[in-house]
Subunit: 219 residues, 2 copies
Amino acid sequence: MTQSPAVPTPERPFLGEARVKTVGGLADEVRALIDAVVFTDAPDADLEEAAAALRALTERLNAARLPAPPMSADHGMLGQLGNPVTGVVNPVAPPIPFEVQEDGSVTADFTLGDVYEGPPGYVHGGISAAVFDQLLGMVAASSGTPGMTATLDLRYRRPTPLNTPLRLEARVARREGRKTWVEGTITTPDGRTTVESTAMFITPRHFITSGLAQDPASR
Amino acid sequence: MTQSPAVPTPERPFLGEARVKTVGGLADEVRALIDAVVFTDAPDADLEEAAAALRALTERLNAARLPAPPMSADHGMLGQLGNPVTGVVNPVAPPIPFEVQEDGSVTADFTLGDVYEGPPGYVHGGISAAVFDQLLGMVAASSGTPGMTATLDLRYRRPTPLNTPLRLEARVARREGRKTWVEGTITTPDGRTTVESTAMFITPRHFITSGLAQDPASR
């Protein structure tokens, strides 16, 4: 979830609000296109023409490229705009909107469409897992103990419906030294929990020495 | 992973090999476009024109829509072409190619690009989780005991690099009545395991009575 220090990575470019809106709007059109590709029953000739048109559009967008996926200027480490779960400029992401509460807990209200299908009519279990990994990591980060995912455990209690408002709630369960356990649930509008998850995050030592994370000794 | 019987779902349309190639080719162009959107530094005006062009293409593809995401005529229950992990016609999917061995174990050789990034330079932990959920489920299915994911547990031992050849290997660990435990690893070219996973799948009773799955009593 959070930055791994061992790896040299290019500088992250930051986008302002207006630019995020423009690129995010383009990403939304790609999301609609993705759905259309999965379901299309248009003739082969139309598809081949569409492919050629896309190739030209891609070339035009690639005429100027950022050195790395962009970050939001406003949201710090939670602002990975290219994140495959929450990133508004990444068409792979639904994207999942989330709210960080004052105590560091996170809630998210979202709906997943047909391109995230696993069993017919239901959300792919791996997509639920990806949503948990991302949002549980955000809880760890926003509550002062950012870290790398060490374990992620999921219990699927019943199928999670597609195209239905879902709510994720997640909070810190406990801490022990540099380890933080975060737990969360996904529930349907009738209040039933479909999936439960617990993840354990380990805060790198230098996050503490550099002041990025709480010092466990000070708790 | 596999079909949940409780839910009424529309008939699944089947696509032949040539059509899969055409739609898959279009999906590949969308994959290239997704990467371009995440990285683009083109002027706002170009992005707005691109968005308008995409809207028109989407409309054209939607002029004729299938009633549900398509299946491959050749691969039965493993042939969900719209699957968000393995589906060749779903641009959200990398897609992960996989090989089913005679004993039902599964191997997959794949590379994940920048749009699947979590920590800078590394694969998002949730994407690894999604890959495991899908391929461990395929092991359960292809070894005679298809089922729904009941639990999925992941241990992240080190970061998984982007843009690097990865190998997933997975096999049945044990069975107990209608429960099947499947375990797998993702390794890098130097033979290091980055993530380990175990999942437990439960075979619905009527899969057994209808002959879709082995009868545990006959083992």
